[in-house]
């Protein structure tokens, strides 16, 4: 009997759910609000990215300067060329 009751209870909920599925949802129009939020939200992200890029460039230049000032004499021409190409790629 308990099993039957359990089945009946959940079955009753299933029936209610079937009816609820046809319920119309409220009409919304969010396109303007979304675009507005994206416009205002995008700036900090862009600024963050710009700061990161600038930081990476500065770090690359500093590394390149250290590399060439300290060890340039020890590099043969081929290594020198590879190092220059690598630093320009950074």
């Amino acid at each position: 009997m308990a099993a039957k009751n359990e089945h009946d209870l959940l079955r009753a909920v299933e029936d209610i759910a079937l009816r609820a599925r046809t319920e119309p949802a409220p009409d919304v129009d969010v396109s303007r609000a979304v675009l507005r939020r994206l416009r205002s939200g995008r700036r900090p992200a862009d600024r963050g990215l710009a700061i990161l890029t600038a930081g990476a460039l500065v770090a690359a230049v500093v590394i390149a300067l250290f590399t060439f000032s300290d060890f340039a004499g020890a590099l043969d021409p081929l290594e020198m060329m590879m190092a220059t190409t690598a630093s320009s790629l950074i």
Partner: protein, 188 residues
């Protein structure tokens, strides 16, 4: 072969290039479906609007990661599910208490000829008594008609985890109904 429609594909490419109108077209096409989904997470129209906005903002920020392996709407639904679930988890204790009071105020299950809105309201309040993860599984199953595979896909859980959670959630739901006096012979 891509499962993404030509107009979606075109609008996604344009959106990624910064064309706002293209993204507005995507929103216009899919906001009714996403609003219907969010209606399962809140019965407050203002909250639904906020959640729909949130879903489309998140979708835009991840648009570059959309691989086109499934239709755009499937991908949007996954994001919307995540947004709705997060909303539930952030709800305050006060909100939970209000919904619990609403539930205890219910006298009986809705009759067979009840309107879809009343049925939706009843089920919403009933499921709100469950923890967020149980509520999510049952909401997707009952309201959206999702099977375990679809729930797993939308939520990002494994299928076996969904099965376990669905089993436990049903058990809790049954206990809740019994506690309220449903299913007892003498009550009928």
């Amino acid at each position: 072969m891509s499962v993404v429609s030509d107009e979606d594909g075109q609008d996604i490419r344009q959106s990624l290039l910064g064309d706002e109108e293209a993204y507005a077209r995507i929103i216009g096409r899919y906001q009714p479906q996403i609003a219907a989904q969010m209606w399962r997470f809140s019965r407050d129209t203002a909250v639904v609007e906020e959640l729909v906005q949130e879903a489309f903002v998140e979708a835009y920020l991840s648009l570059g990661k959309f691989k086109g392996r499934a239709p755009l709407l499937h991908w949007l639904r996954k994001i919307a599910t995540r947004v709705g679930y997060r909303f539930w988890r952030k709800r305050t204790r006060e909100q939970e208490r209000r919904e619990a009071l609403a539930w205890h105020g219910e006298e009986a299950m809705p009759p067979a000829d009840t309107s879809p809105s009343e049925a939706g309201e009843y089920l919403h309040v009933l499921l709100a008594q469950l923890p967020a993860e149980d509520r999510l599984v049952l909401t997707l199953h009952y309201f959206e008609g999702c099977d375990t595979r679809e729930i797993a896909e939308r939520v990002g859980w494994t299928r076996s985890l969904v099965k376990v959670r669905a089993f436990r959630a049903r058990k809790k739901l049954k206990a809740l109904l019994e506690e309220a006096g449903y299913g007892r012979e003498e009550r009928a």
